[in-house]
Amino acid sequence: MSADEPGAPARTADEVLLMGRVGELWLKGRNRRHFERSLQQNLQRALSNRLNHVQVMAGRGRMYIAVGHPADAAEALRIAADVPGLVDIARVERCEPELDAIEAAALALVGERWAGATGSFAIDGRRTQKTLPFTSPALNRRIGAAVQRATGLAVNLTAPDRTLSIEVDPRRAHLWTDATPGARGLPVGTAGGALLMLSGGIDSPVAGYLAQKRGCRLDAVYFHSAPFVGEGTRDKVVALAGRLATRQGGAAAARRAVHRGPGGHPRRLRSADGGAAVSAHDVSHRRPAGRRPQARRAGDRRDAGAGGEPDDQQPGAG
C-alpha cells in the first residue's frame, strides 16, 4: 500500500486523526500487504459498527483513522486498541514535514495538552527516511528548545515525566503526546479460521481471544445443555460471542446470530450484516446414555457446558 491514502476524503477542520502503529506485521515480508489489508478491514468494521464517519487508511507500518465527529475520538481509540494488530495508538496532529511547521504544531499541541504541567519532558523525534534535510538529533534539539521556552519545563532525556513524539516522513509529520497500548498480535483472518467450543466459563473465551490475536478468525459453537444449565448461561455465552465478534470486525451484538438449529443440528450462521463471524449455536442436548446420575450430582453438573469448563455463573434462584 502506498505511503499516502489514494482516494481518501478531504479532511475537515475539526476531524480527529488517530495513528496506530503496526507491530509484528513488519516481520512478515511479502505478506505485509495482505496483513495490512486485513487489519485495515478489521479496524474499519469494528469502528463502523459503532460509529459514523470513521475512515481507516493504511500507510507504511501505520494505520490512520480519521474520526469525523471529535466527540467520538475517545471511543474510536478504545475500539481500535482492542482490535488485534496494533502495538499502540494515539491521537495525532499532522503537519508539513518542515521544521517551522513542526515547531508550530508542537507548540500548539503542548500548549493544549501540557497546560499547567510541572516537571520534565523529552522530545522523541525521528525521521523515517534519510532524504529529509535535517537529522533526528537536530529535530529534537530545535523542537526541545522551543517547547522549553514556551512551557518552562525542564528537559530530562532519561526519565521524563512526559514525552512529545514526532515522526517525520517525506510527505508529512505526525506529533503526539500519549499513546494507548494496543492489543498487539496479528490481524484476525490472516491465519485462517478455527472453531471455538464456547462455554459459559472463563477459559474458552480467553482461548478464543488468544487464537484471535494469532490471526485466527473464529466461529463458535455452544452446546446448550438445557435443562442442566439455565437460560442465563446461554445469554452470557451470547454476550461473550459478541465481545469476541467485535475483535474480528463482527457485529457488536451476536444475539441475532444465535438460534436453535432445526432438529438439534448446529448450523453455521452469519449475522444479517454479514459482519459477525462469531456465532453461538444451540443444540438440544441429552445426557449421554450410560452416564450415571451420581456422576453429575457430586458437584460436576457444572461442567455441562461445551469443553467441560466450570461455569462460573449458575443461574438458580430467581
Binding site: 450415571r292 446420575p293 449458575q314 438458580g316
Partner: protein, 384 residues
C-alpha cells in the same frame, strides 16, 4: 432470537418480590404530584407532606400494635435490619446471636459487628423445620449477648418462629440484649403485635406486599444510633429526605395485604394439592400448611432430582419459582443445610403465592410443575 414459543409466565415467586398493586401505584403517582414537598420544610406544602408521613407512620405502627414514635422509615428491609443491628450505642461490644436460618442481610450485619467492632457471633441452631426452639436459644445466649436476631416468618421454608415463647428466654438469659426480628416476610401475611411478642426491633419492607420498591421501615422501642445521620430526619435515627407518597403507599399495601391474606393460603393450599395429586412422591418442606406456616409459602422437595435443572424446566414452561432465597443464588441454601438437608435429597423448589395469584394460575402452575418433573425424570432418572 428464535425460540420455541414461551407460555405466559405464571408468577409464583412472591417470596422474592411481588407485582406492585396497580391501584396503589396510581395513588402513589398522584401523591407524587401533591405530596412532593420535603416533610422538614416549614411551608404549607412541607407541612402537608409531614402530616401525610405521620399518617402513614401511625397506620403502619397501628398494624403492629406499636407506638408510632418508634417507627423509622428506611430504604427497605435490609436497611431496617442493618439499622436495628448496627444502630447501637457508641462503643458497645458484646456477643450477637443470630438464628441459622436468617436472611443474608442479618448475617452480613453480624459479620460487620464482628469485623469492625470486635464482637463475637453465636449461631442459634434451627430444628428440622427451620425454626428456633426455646432450648436451643437458651443454650446460645448469655449475659454478654447484646443483640439477638430471630426472624418472624422464615423466607425460604415459611416456618413461623414462636417469638412469644422465645422472648422471655432472651429477657432472662440475656437481659441487656435487644431482640431484633426480621418481619419482612411476615408483615401483612399474619397479624403481628410487637407488644404481645415482646419484640424490640421489627424490620419491614413494602415490596413483599405488592407495594413500591424502595421503602421499608424499622419499628423500635429501644434507642437507635443512626448509621447515616444526614439531616436529622426520622427523629435523628435515619438521615435522608423522606417520601410521604412512598410511606403512604407502604401503609396502603400493608393494610391491603393483611385484609387479603386468606387468599394467599387458599391459593397456596390449592397449589400444594395440585402438585401432590400429580407428583405423589413430592415432600412438603418444613411445618405443615396451617397457622405455623406463612400463608403464601410452599416449599417442596422432589426426591431423586436436581434442583437447578427442574427450575430451568419450570422457567421454560413459564413458571417463575425459586430454589431458595433470591438473595443467595449459586450455592446450596444455608437454611436447608441448617435444617439438616442436602442437595442430594432432591429438587428443592419454593413456590410463593400473592394477592394476584388466581386459581387458574395455580392449576396451570401445578400442571406445568408435574410436566417438568416428568421430563426431568426422563432425562435424569431414566438412564441405567
Amino acid at each position: 432470537m428464535q425460540q420455541t414459543t414461551t407460555p405466559d409466565p405464571i408468577y409464583l415467586d412472591n417470596g422474592a418480590t411481588t407485582r406492585p398493586d396497580p391501584v396503589i401505584m396510581r395513588a402513589l403517582l398522584d401523591r407524587q404530584a401533591t405530596l412532593f414537598a420535603n416533610p422538614t420544610s416549614s411551608h404549607r406544602l412541607g407541612r402537608a407532606a409531614a402530616a401525610a408521613l405521620d399518617e402513614a407512620r401511625g397506620r403502619l405502627a397501628g398494624m403492629i400494635g406499636g407506638d408510632p414514635a418508634g417507627l423509622v422509615f428506611t430504604g427497605g428491609g435490609t436497611e431496617a435490619v442493618g439499622l436495628a443491628m448496627l444502630g447501637l450505642p457508641q462503643g458497645t461490644v458484646g456477643r450477637v446471636a443470630i438464628s441459622a436460618a436468617e436472611h443474608a442481610c442479618v448475617g452480613e450485619a453480624a459479620r460487620r459487628l464482628v469485623e469492625c467492632h470486635g464482637w463475637a457471633v453465636d449461631v442459634i441452631p434451627v430444628d428440622g423445620d427451620g425454626r428456633v426452639q426455646p432450648a436451643a436459644l437458651a443454650e446460645a445466649i448469655g449475659p454478654e449477648t447484646r443483640v439477638v436476631a430471630i426472624m418472624l416468618g422464615q423466607n425460604e421454608v415459611g416456618g413461623i418462629n414462636p417469638i412469644a415463647a422465645l422472648a422471655p428466654i432472651v429477657r432472662s438469659r440475656a437481659p441487656r440484649a435487644r431482640l431484633v426480628v426480621d418481619g419482612v416476610q411476615a408483615l401483612g401475611k399474619i397479624p403481628i403485635d410487637v407488644a404481645a411478642l415482646d419484640i424490640d426491633c421489627l424490620a419491614m419492607a413494602a415490596h413483599k406486599l405488592h407495594g413500591p420498591r424502595g421503602i421499608g421501615a424499622l419499628w423500635s422501642r429501644v434507642p437507635l444510633t443512626p448509621v447515616l445521620k444526614g439531616g436529622g430526619q426520622e427523629g435523628g435515627r435515619r438521615g435522608g429526605t423522606q417520601s410521604a407518597p412512598l410511606a403512604l403507599a407502604f401503609a396502603d399495601a400493608a393494610e391491603a395485604a393483611l385484609a387479603g391474606r386468606s387468599h394467599l393460603a387458599a391459593m397456596r393450599d390449592r397449589l400444594w394439592h395440585g402438585i401432590r395429586d400429580r407428583v405423589p412422591d413430592v415432600i412438603l418442606t418444613g411445618v405443615p400448611c396451617g397457622p405455623e406456616r406463612l400463608p403464601h409459602n410452599l416449599h417442596v422437595c422432589v426426591p431423586g432430582l436436581p434442583s437447578e435443572p427442574l427450575l430451568n424446566l419450570l422457567d421454560t414452561r413459564g413458571v417463575c419459582a425459586s430454589a431458595g432465597s433470591a438473595c443467595g443464588r449459586d450455592r446450596f441454601s444455608p437454611v436447608l443445610a441448617a435444617m439438616g438437608r442436602g442437595a442430594d435429597d432432591g429438587a428443592w423448589i419454593r413456590l410463593t403465592t400473592g394477592r394476584f395469584t388466581t386459581p387458574e394460575m395455580v392449576d396451570a402452575g401445578a400442571e406445568r410443575f408435574a410436566d417438568a418433573v416428568a421430563e426431568l425424570r426422563l432425562l435424569w432418572g431414566g438412564c441405567p
